[in-house]
Amino acid sequence: MLEIKNLKTRIGDTEILRGLTLSVQAGEVHAIMGPNGSGKSTLALVIAGHDDYVVTDGTVTYNGKNLLDLEPEERAREGVFLGFQYPVEIPGVNNAYLLKAAVNAKRRHNGQGEVDAFEFLKLAREKMAALGMDPKLLNRGINEGFSGGEKKRNEVLQMTMLEPSLAILDETDSGLDIDALKAVAKGINTLRSPDRAIVLITHYQRLLDYVQPDFVHVLSEGRIVRSGDKSLALELEDKGYDWVREAASA
């Protein structure tokens, strides 16, 4: 589904990704871990199409298409979803409005009619209940005055409504208390399916207790330096990132 080969990117004069290669197939859950500044968020933003990042080398193919040729909104409509590390506030714009606009943008792209307002609300309320979200958040400004946990749940809500083919969640677990973490993990798990891939970017093993990854990768200085199964995450938790760095440079 997603094939990244030798990806190099820079922002300004700083090279961040330095030849990253990653292959993600439908049905898989990948976890990407790594120290601060290793390029995890950059990877997520490049896949989503943020144009602060310049791709200097390498390829990114998504379902056989050159992803780098597509505008961010086209990628989104094609089923690429990014759960942001820091979801932005958009005061004055109704949360439900964006959610509905997003659902409809995707439906139009897929040649489907727009969603019926009543059905939409019903579905959104169901999903919110499953995530333990206050339904009132639907009528607030987008992320406006939301707590950290509410913002992250809101990202997961958008994801579950949009049903992406490729979901990348950038530190969706950070700053969550244990109840919120469980709710978010539950949301992610409901999306697991044979035709969908999920990439979790995280610092901590904690989330992976609730969402079992098929693969764990360690990113360091813009490259994947180690890949393995879930045991790698546990090993990391135990030994810290220095161990990976040493292993990588050895």
Binding site: D52, E71, A76, V88, V93, A101, A102, A105
Partner: protein, 480 residues
């Protein structure tokens, strides 16, 4: 990404930039007493009206153009402007829409204003002003049954001189300001509304103004009188075709609300703003004022201003009657090289008078947007209250927003509040929306409409939809 893209989105074309080829009979450029007399004669006005115009003209000659507004433009050469233009077939004016020049109807179609359908569907009586002479009036009979007078201003001068004599200039005196004086001397036409005592006007009243002939200043004159206990909602909307010369527009609108009466005046203004280099565009120097003359009366202004190269406009309320209420809801959008200096005045004279001001200014391109507002509480206005909220939204990094609130409080029991915010559409916000599948333009529209919704909800329903669409067109290309 942000700044580059935002600049590139600042390229839109004015949708209504076309010119209808209707033979117009236009006075040669220039202004003197002869022109004033000719206008009056052309309209078969009674003598009192001519005298009124002439006095205004003489007063205007002694006045100077105001320069205090935060706008910049080349000196207007008043002698190069023609002061009257009318569709030629003035004598046999159409009695119904069927008789209206098909080209004119076509023009309305292009503007997205299918007059006949729209009027019927929305239950709106339309007094369409094309250039300076009204050419179509609908729903007149229904209004007549209710005792409502809704007619072209020139007709009111002939048919209802007692009302004109009593109220014309009673809110905006001839020499109120330079442009009001000019308008008083040469006003071409406009609308007149009288709602009798205790009558709730059975439909929204609406007028579409349109400037069509090149180099012809348009000088609309509108007078709305709501007699005791009556209620009326009036809609005004405008567009104009593309022209290179700057066109001067100096309208005067006077509202009078007597005891327990209510007037709601809504405007969507979309005159040609000039191109992206600031060439062409309408100069819109308007005096709008409402007088809450009676106790418990209410006047509410709602405006959505997207057009004109320069806007100079302060719809105001004189809160004379005890417990009277004044409201001002405004969205002003400027893009490219547009300049707007707009706001309101709330003059509290009567006891327990209340006013609300909600102003939303949006600036894009290199445009400059000014809110200028005066809240004056007179010594006798015990218990007066005002709440002002003034928000600015910036798109891109080359535009400007300025706020000049004036407050003159002469009564210690007054409560006056002022809140102001300035925000900017950020690249992060746009990226967030795009990642959810919205195009950048849709994202901007969504954010802008969210910013304006407090004002839009004050507009009559069908107007709110139109206003929202208009805003989207106005900001097309504002972010890229």
């Amino acid at each position: 990404m942000a700044s580059e893209n935002m600049e590139s989105l600042v390229n839109r074309r004015y949708e209504h930039g076309f010119v209808t080829d209707i033979e117009t009979e236009t006075f040669p450029p220039g202004l003197d007493e002869g022109v004033v007399r000719a206008i009056s004669a052309r309209k078969n006005e009674p003598k009192f009206m001519l005298e009124w115009r002439l006095q205004a003209y003489r007063q205007w000659l002694e006045m100077r153009e105001p320069t205090w507004a935060h706008v910049h433009y080349p000196q207007i050469k008043f002698n190069e402007i023609s002061y009257f233009a009318a569709p030629k077939s003035d004598d046999d004016r159409p009695k119904s829409l069927d008789e209206v020049d098909p080209k004119l109807l076509e023009t309305y179609e292009k503007l997205g204003i299918p007059l006949h359908e729209r009027a019927r569907l929305a239950g709106v009586a339309v007094d369409a002003v094309f250039d300076s002479v009204s050419v179509a009036t609908t729903f007149k009979e229904k209004l007549y049954e209710a005792g409502v007078i809704f007619c072209p201003f020139s007709e009111a001068v002939r048919e209802h001189p007692e009302l004109i004599k009593k109220y014309l200039g009673s809110v905006v005196p001839r020499r109120d300001n330079f442009y009001a004086a000019l308008n008083s001397a040469v006003f071409s036409d406009g609308s007149f509304v009288y709602i009798p005592k205790g009558v709730r006007c059975p439909m929204e009243l609406s007028t579409y103004f349109r400037i069509n002939a090149a180099n012809t200043g348009q000088f609309e004159r509108t007078l709305i009188i709501a007699d005791e206990g009556s209620h009326v909602s009036y809609l005004e909307g405008c567009t104009a075709p593309m022209r290179d010369e700057n066109q001067l527009h100096a309208a005067v609108v006077e509202l009078v609300a007597l005891e327990d009466a209510e007037i709601k005046y809504s405007t969507v203004q979309n005159w040609y703003p000039g191109d992206e280099n600031g060439v062409g565009g309408i100069y819109n120097f308007v005096t709008k004022r409402g007088d809450c003359r009676g106790a418990n009366s209410k006047i509410s202004w709602t405006q959505v201003e997207t057009g004109s190269a320069i806007t100079w406009k302060y719809p105001s309320c004189i809160l004379r009657g005890a417990n009277s209420v004044g409201e001002f809801y405004s969205v002003a959008v400027v893009n490219n090289m547009q300049q707007a200096d707009t706001g309101t005045k709330m003059i509290h004279i009567g006891p327990n008078t209340r006013s609300t001001i909600v102003s939303k200014g949006i600036s894009a391109g290199k445009a400059q947007n000014v809110y200028r507002g005066l809240v004056r509480i007179m010594p006798q206005a015990h218990g007066a209250r005002n709440h002002t909220q003034c928000d600015s939204l910036l798109i891109g990094s080359e535009c400007g927003a300025h706020t000049f609130p004036y407050m003159e409080i002469k009564n210690p029991s007054a409560k006056v509040e002022h809140e102001a915010t300035t925000s900017k559409i950020s690249a992060d916000q746009l990226f967030y929306c795009r990642q959810r599948g919205l195009s950048e333009e849709d994202a901007v529209n969504m954010i802008v409409n969210g910013f304006c919704k407090e004002v839009f909800k004050e507009l009559p329903m069908e107007f709110a939809v139109e206003a929202q669409a208009l805003l989207n067109v106005s900001l097309e290309g504002a972010v890229g």
